[in-house]
């Protein structure tokens, strides 16, 4: 079993290194194939491990080597495969495998095909470290590793020029990559502080040691640690107010959006909350704050998705919204439900993104859904896939999203937080609306794209590779019971109260009414083609939503520009006039003194002798004075 752990962990690393060997050379299909097969091996190992953990119910804990050992600080390079991490491993490797295979088709015409696979596999490796580490330090390394890979991949087309924000809200891939990286830096600082607080008070970073020691800590320390860790989670999972980077990250290639910015990396924040659930269950205030913020983000992001016209951005907003759901569940203490929604969401959201990738591929990278329409005939399979994913997202029964999202909404009801419940129900309706608005605008109605575009279906193998995701998006919900018994061996169980149980039919019906209502509304408005409503589009609310509540502009005006101004001032006034001047001054002094002292070198021995005598007499005087003082 131990070997399987290493195989699962290092197969992506080997794939990444292998692909990196060909990083500078032109496209080699076998690089993609080998990287994908190594990913598949990793997936197979993860699946076997999952089966092992499922059947035996015991976690596998391996320590590869001693990593940091300095004074009292002892951090081994250890890995923990328990119910939670094995779930994440399986989900991550499965989605990654599909995305890798998909990328062979999607990146077919890209010059940097090999480089892409190197980055992608490196990302999976980092993600595996993140989920498998048995201590906070390893988690942090993985955390930063995925951050770096995300930066590399968002900025994969770094050569694209900057454009004005009005033309493209992300300005450019490299801009978006930097934004993502910097925002995550801010959050990473919070996370680091949390880790420091834990180490300071516990003296160890091992999960088991830390969690065993929690009852000895004061509540203020716990609150501080929980809050700091949650700030880290907020950055990686793009929660308000650190959410702007996620939609801009859509500048990266679509497989990246599917893998990193929908299925895996952005859920790392949720994973952190679930992993550190002993801390969060001891801090009810922080947990409630998480739940409230999650609910707010769910609604906030869904509202922005209602009017957006960019295919990928809509899905990105929906990712944000679903992450909000997960945080709501985790904050309310239903950790296993959050984890379940995480897994289910990974499947259908990745599918949705890959479907969007197919559409982009067909439409020559056109992303505006107002300029699509009628693609159903040409792209039947993609239509089915995206339809299935949207149904799952909207939470229609028998699809995966129904079970997981419904459980979260019920949790909100069960906890007696009716306001959160109401918002989440409303958001479910909005989710249904915007996802089907997108589907209808893309695939139904008359065609609105230019005549020179000839939409065509993706490669066969790509479509086949997407099938597992589609199947899982449909059936994943049926495993909910088994999943519950599986992960609650580790996570605290969460059961609905008797009262909620009685009302469950009513609750489900309410959610369903909203979901179906949303779909119906979308159908009415968009299924028969796009009718632009000038009045609506010029209304204040529409503009507010379309401009993302003007938050990017706000950040630009009140953070970026003042910061740039301060930096400029610092550079011109402090750096140039003080720091540089000091350094230059030292250099100038040395030059000048050297230049002046050069005059001593007359070449005349007699002068040298005089200087020597001066030195000798000085030494003599010093000796005399020191003898006198002694």
């Amino acid at each position: 079993m131990e070997n399987l752990v290493y195989i699962a962990l290092f197969a992506p690393f080997v794939g990444s290194m292998f692909a990196a060997l060909f990083g500078m050379s032109p496209k080699q299909t076998f690089v993609g194939i080998i990287a994908s097969s190594l990913l598949f091996i990793s997936f197979a190992a993860s699946a076997v491990l999952a089966f092992h953990v499922y059947t035996t119910g015991t976690a596998i804990h391996v320590t590869m080597m001693e990593w940091i050992s300095a004074g009292d600080l002892m951090i081994p390079f250890g890995f923990l495969v328990d119910q939670v991490s094995v779930t994440m491993m399986t989900v991550v490797t499965l989605v990654s495998t599909v995305v890798h295979i998909y990328s062979i088709g999607y990146m077919d015409h890209d010059k940097s095909f090999n480089r892409f696979f190197s980055y992608l596999s490196a990302f999976v490796f980092s993600m595996m470290i993140l989920v498998m580490s048995d201590n906070f330090a390893g988690l942090f390394i993985g955390w930063e590793g995925v951050g770096v890979c995300s930066w590399l991949l968002i900025g994969f087309w770094y050569h694209k020029e900057d454009v004005a924000r009005e033309k493209n809200p992300s300005i450019s891939p490299s801009w978006a990559a930097n934004e993502a990286f910097i925002v995550n830096r801010i959050a990473g600082l919070g996370m680091l502080i949390g880790i420091f607080i834990i180490y300071w008070n516990v003296g160890s970073l091992q999960y088991d040691v830390v969690f065993a020691d929690l009852p000895n800590l004061s509540s203020s320390v716990l609150n501080a640690a929980a809050l700091a860790l949650f700030i880290g989670a907020m950055g990686k999972s793009a929660q308000f107010p650190l959410h702007t980077w996620l939609t801009d990250a859509m500048e990266g290639p679509t497989p990246v959006s599917a893998l990193i910015h929908a299925a895996t990396m952005v859920t790392a924040g949720v994973f952190l909350i679930i992993r550190a659930n002993p801390i969060f269950s001891m801090t009810p205030e922080v947990s409630f704050f998480i739940a409230a913020l999650g609910t707010f983000v769910a609604f906030f992001a869904a509202s922005m998705a209602l009017v957006n016209r960019d295919l990928k951005r809509i899905i990105a907003f929906s990712t944000l919204s679903q992450l909000g759901y997960m945080f709501a569940a985790a904050g309310l203490g239903a950790y296993w439900i959050a984890l379940f929604h995480l897994a289910a969401h990974a499947f259908f959201k990745a599918l949705l993104f890959l479907g969007a990738g197919n559409v982009m591929h067909a439409m020559d990278d056109e992303l505006d859904i107002f300029k699509m329409g009628g693609l159903k005939k040409a792209m039947n399979w993609t239509y089915i896939y995206m339809g299935v994913a949207s149904l799952a997202l909207a939470g229609i029964p028998i699809f995966a999203g129904f079970f997981s999202k419904d459980a979260i909404i019920e949790t909100a009801f069960n906890e007696g937080t009716y306001v959160l419940w109401a918002i989440l129900v409303l958001t479910a309706g909005m989710t249904a609306f915007y996802s089907f608005r997108q589907v209808f605008l893309t695939f139904h109605g008359a065609k609105r794209y230019k005549d020179e575009i000839h939409p065509h279906e993706m490669y066969k193998f790509v479509l086949i590779a997407m099938a597992p995701l589609a199947i899982l998006a449909v059936i994943a919900g049926f495993f909910m019971g088994g999943f519950q018994t599986f992960v609650t061996k580790l996570l605290p169980n969460y059961e609905m109260s008797h009262h909620t149980h009685e009302l469950i039919v009513v609750l489900t019906a309410v959610v369903l009414v909203f979901a179906v209502g949303g779909i119906w509304l979308a159908y009415k408005k968009y299924a028969n083609g796009l009718k632009r409503d000038e009045k609506l589009e010029n209304s204040f609310l529409y503009k507010l939503l379309a401009n993302q509540y003007y938050i990017p502009q706000f950040y630009e005006e009140f953070i970026t520009k003042p910061y740039a101004m301060i930096s400029e001032k610092m550079w011109k006034d402090i750096d140039m006039k003080i720091v540089d001047a000091t350094v230059d001054g030292i250099a100038k002094f040395l030059y000048k003194s050297g230049d002046k002292a050069r005059a001593m070198q007359t070449g005349n021995l007699s002068n040298y002798l005089n200087w020597m005598a001066v030195g000798g007499v000085l030494l003599l005087i010093v000796a005399a004075i020191s003898a006198m003082l002694a």
Binding site: R598, Q601, G603, N604, S606, N610, A613
Partner: protein, 100 residues
């Protein structure tokens, strides 16, 4: 009575005279003379200390200083002759070839 300080002061004065010579002279041969003066001044000091502390070490050092002075003169004069052959002068001011 003549004490150790008397000898040492004489030695110091002679040494200073030698130093003045070294500083003042530009002719290499004269510089050599001045150096000899300084060496002799030191010898006096050694002999005086040897005498007043009843210790032979000072005299030993004086011997070796004489030996060193002798070799210095032998090599130094050889060099002077070579220099004179080359430049036709022993004036230090004419040898300023190492001007920086």
């Amino acid at each position: 009575m003549i004490g150790l300080s008397h000898y040492l002061i004489v030695s110091a004065l002679i040494f200073s005279i030698g130093l003045i010579g070294v500083l003042r002279r530009r002719n290499l041969l004269m510089l050599f003379f001045a150096t000899e003066v300084m060496l002799n001044a030191v010898n006096i000091a050694f002999a005086a200390i040897s005498h007043y502390y009843n210790d032979l070490t000072g005299q030993m050092f004086a011997f070796f200083i004489i030996a060193i002075a002798a070799s210095e003169v032998a090599v130094g004069l050889g060099l002077l002759i070579v220099l004179y052959k080359k430049y036709g002068t022993l004036n230090l001011d004419d040898f300023a070839s190492m001007k920086g």
